[in-house]
Assembly symmetry: C2
Homo-oligomer: 347 residues x 2
């Protein structure tokens, strides 16, 4: 893995993003922001799953004003997502948000942007320059996708810097992976600011997590990226879970249990799928790092179990349960899930 | 993306792997190989989803003999997966398989391996040297994970080459992503043979696809890899679908429809989730490349729709349907799924 890019650390609420701080996981609410109770409930649920920053859409003034109550009822930094109307940014700052996301594709009036920057500066509130391939400013329509995204971001960065404002974070999101990677690589070389990674409109959970893992993961592997948001057409809890999976797979962060489980094949001597499902359900309540390895036969079973906290290697309608690499029990197939649950609880 | 590594092309049945041939998608049956009817059914289902090579476990002689009937009843190359007993490899060759996978971790007797290589040579049948981190030969226990895997593969490669056999494919599978990448990078430089990529015991579909996308995807991005197998504790059809998603996301292959769909947020003016689910269901029967983009609001909706064959941008309880970037219909929310289905069918 390439050494992590040395970005300029940025404070967002009580959290640091960039520099040597952990890659932060964020999400966005899918409730109507004006429905304060529903929005707070969703954010609290996301907090339980480890979401570290939350963003809310601000389609109108009522939504901007709702952010005040929301902010006081949650425990993680709150970002206002602003498109089209700079007054929504001003109202969100007034409501006390910890950060703004501005889309340079649909906020183009320099005087209006200057007013927002001035208000953000007074409150020391950071701004993300959030470029999307689907909503680029018209002046950049000629160039290739990545060039257009980078140009849109740089134009806005230059404008903010000219106003002596540097509490900046940048994102350049697209659906296309090679384009996204090209754009982030370019901006990573050109600016010192922390980068927020994401793949826009990545889709439903199955395809969307694969696409997000590839786009976000290849960039992180190249040392690029300080905070990530997986976008899925689904419950936002899945976005947070997918985010942690990406970081865990690249050994960038530890978070909760890891379930190693074999695909099974014609060699399987136990029916592993229901056991794996049951163990996964049992692990849901656990937040500590814990590695559980389930294999349906003896080919890799003992080897994988040796590297896990709790392991299972299947045999003929039986299974050996391992703890820290040592067999602690051999039991019949129908009692394996229970035996695994017991071992997990003891650790 | 790095230029693809120039591997030595290899024929497996009617298919070429490596060189400039497309990255091939493979899977493994999860039925009891001795249950010939169930195994053939599963393979035919996998063929429908685009599986290009199939592997079956060969735990005993009855399974080896079953491969003959299976081979004659399917349309894609059949590989016998051999562990522990070289006689199962000989019997599988006799049954007419298109390839063997040998695990150097549990097939150690050189005379026995030589007998298999001799029989494979007579039939011009390729052998995959399939190393797994969970079942390495004991002699390499001292080194680090990637070094051990590479050493186990190279020992076997050297032995096969000394027998004047070069119909070789290599895999070095582990659960850990950085270890897997380090191992494949090393073997890619050391040998000319095509590489089969995979992450072992990657887990249940959600985590397993993310882990596989990262491990396989980062290597493909670096130009390494000629055929891939996603291992999931699930229906093998999901393995094939995940494989194609990975290749599609990296623009390495086209296969079937692509659904761009926004995560929705507090700005959404239509309920996109059920529409996205319905459209996805409708796209299942389609094998041609087709891009459908669904956005719940006007921020990125028109922009994304412009790049898609069929698009939707949501508005107030209504939506605009796009075809090749042009609005063809504006309709109420409850009729959007139907209108999208119609547009898709017309294309």
């Amino acid at each position: 893995m390439t050494l992590r890019r040395n970005s300029k650390p940025l404070r967002i609420g009580g959290l640091t993003i960039g520099g040597s701080s952990p890659i932060r996981i964020q999400s966005m609410t899918k409730t109507d922001t004006r429905d304060v109770a529903a929005t707070i409930n969703q954010i609290r649920r996301l907090e339980e799953y480890g979401c570290e920053i939350i963003r809310c859409a601000v389609p109108d003034m009522e939504a901007a004003e709702a952010l005040g109550v929301i902010k006081r009822s949650i425990h993680i930094p709150l970002i206002a997502d602003i498109h089209f109307d700079y007054r929504l940014a001003l109202a969100s700052l007034k409501a006390g948000v910890d950060g703004l996301r501005l889309n340079p594709g649909n906020l183009r009036n320099l005087e209006q942007i200057a007013a927002v920057v001035q208000a953000a500066k007074e409150r020391e509130t950071p701004i993300r320059i959030g470029v999307n391939a689907g909503s680029l400013p018209p002046s950049f329509e000629g160039d290739s996708g990545p060039q257009r995204m980078v140009a849109a971001a740089k134009e806005q960065i230059n404008f903010l810097e000219a106003l002596d404002f540097d509490l900046i974070k940048v994102s350049l999101k697209a659906f296309d992976i090679p384009q996204t990677i090209a754009a982030y690589r370019a901006i990573a070389q050109d600016t010192p600011y922390p980068l927020h990674l994401g793949i826009t409109e990545a889709g439903l959970p199955f395809e969307g997590s694969i696409r997000s893992a590839l786009g976000i993961g290849i960039l992180l592997w190249e040392g690029i990226g300080d905070t990530i948001r997986v976008s899925l057409t689904a419950d936002p809890v899945l976005e947070v879970q997918a985010g942690y999976e990406i970081l865990k797979c690249l050994n960038l962060r530890e978070y909760g249990p890891t379930l190693v489980s074999c695909p099974t094949c014609g060699r399987a001597e136990i029916d592993l799928l229901p056991i794996a499902d049951e163990v996964r359900g049992h692990l849901k309540g656990i937040r500590k790092p814990l590695k559980v390895a389930l294999c349906a036969c003896v080919v890799n079973g003992p080897g994988e179990a040796r590297c896990a906290d709790v392991g299972l290697a299947g045999g003929k309608r039986k299974g050996a349960i391992f703890r820290k690499g040592k067999v602690v029990k051999v039991t019949d197939e129908d009692k394996l899930a229970e035996a695994l649950r017991e071992e997990i609880d003891q650790i």
